[in-house]
């Protein structure tokens, strides 16, 4: 019982720790059709309107958009896909993590 309580306490601490919150702070999106600075600017502006987004970085070389979320905020895949579409481009893949 003592071990079970300890394990539960450890897991809860892990869940609410800054480390746990930061697991989802970056979202990596591979984007099709992103070929110029106007494309990158469009993505910056569209994602910049989202309160959950701290900032984004566009890498034309890797066709990659890195979305930095605010602490504790979430942005689901469907919303990301819609925002990329609103920018005029297409999502190839979404990955999450540090």
């Amino acid at each position: 019982m003592k071990k079970l309580l300890s394990a539960t306490a450890f897991l809860m601490a892990l869940c609410f720790s800054p480390f746990a919150l930061s697991l989802d702070e970056k979202v990596y999106v591979n984007v099709n059709g992103m070929v110029c600075d106007f494309c990158a600017r469009a993505l910056e502006k569209v994602f910049g309107r989202q309160e959950s987004v701290e900032s984004i970085k566009v890498d034309l070389d890797d066709r990659l958009v890195v979305i930095h979320l605010r602490k504790g905020e979430q942005l689901d895949d469907a919303t990301i896909t819609q925002l990329i579409t609103d920018s005029g481009y297409a999502v190839r893949e979404i990955k999450r993590g540090e």
Binding site: C36, F38, R41, A42, L60, D61, R63, D86
Partner: protein, 210 residues
């Protein structure tokens, strides 16, 4: 407005050209385009409520005809092909408004145009084609078309200065052909083009996207 045009264009620095730039921005985006195409100078400001449509105002001044057009313009992205390393587009552009000019004894006339534009580009190569049918009540209707190819000597990332070497060919309403080599500089929200045609005229275009 006239001062702006004079400053931007300069006396006699006119080259026949259709400019070939994406006429639709992202959802909520604004774009300002200042263009010299030889027979005319153009200011086009548009807003894109969606990534497939833009609405705007277009001003054109045709020097040789001393003709002025004030138009409401609607651009529609008919199809976009987004690929990992490239993008292609097909647009329908249209405008309707009023023409003023000596040929109409300075009286206003209804005018409009319809245009199809297609482009393909990756980060090294660029190909585009555009045509336009222009109509004016009690005036001469005319058709013009333009094509452009481009090559980037290096690939820059976002925020770098991008440089393109381009060649534009215009087929004008009076059946003249004009060839214009030009260079495009592209950085962030600014795009600047300058060139010199085979008729010795300077091309100067500027686009700002907000």
């Amino acid at each position: 407005m006239r001062l702006l045009l004079r400053t931007f264009v300069g006396a006699g620095l006119i080259v026949p050209a259709l400019v070939l730039a994406r006429p639709v921005s992202y959802s909520g985006g604004w774009t300002l385009m200042l263009m010299n195409d030889g027979t005319k100078n153009t200011v086009h400001a548009h807003y894109s409520p969606t990534a497939k449509t833009s609405l705007g105002y277009r001003f054109e001044y045709w020097q040789n005809r001393e003709l002025r057009l004030d138009l409401l313009q609607v651009n529609r992205l008919l199809k976009r092909w987004n690929r990992p390393d490239s993008q292609a587009n097909l647009y329908l552009k249209s405008g309707v408004g009023i023409a003023h000019g000596n040929e109409f004894d300075d009286k206003a006339r209804m005018a409009g145009f319809a245009s199809l534009a297609a482009d393909w580009e990756n980060r090294r190569y660029f190909v585009a084609y555009e045509n336009r049918y222009t109509w004016m009540k009690d005036g001469d209707d005319f058709f013009s078309q333009s094509a452009r190819i481009g090559w980037a000597p290096y690939e820059g990332d976002y925020g770098d200065l991008h440089t393109w070497l381009m060649l534009q060919v215009d087929h004008l309403a009076d059946n003249r052909m004009v060839i214009t080599p030009l260079v495009r500089f592209f950085k962030g929200v600014h795009l600047l083009e300058t060139g010199l045609s085979d008729r010795g005229a300077v091309l100067l275009n500027y686009i700002f996207r907000y």
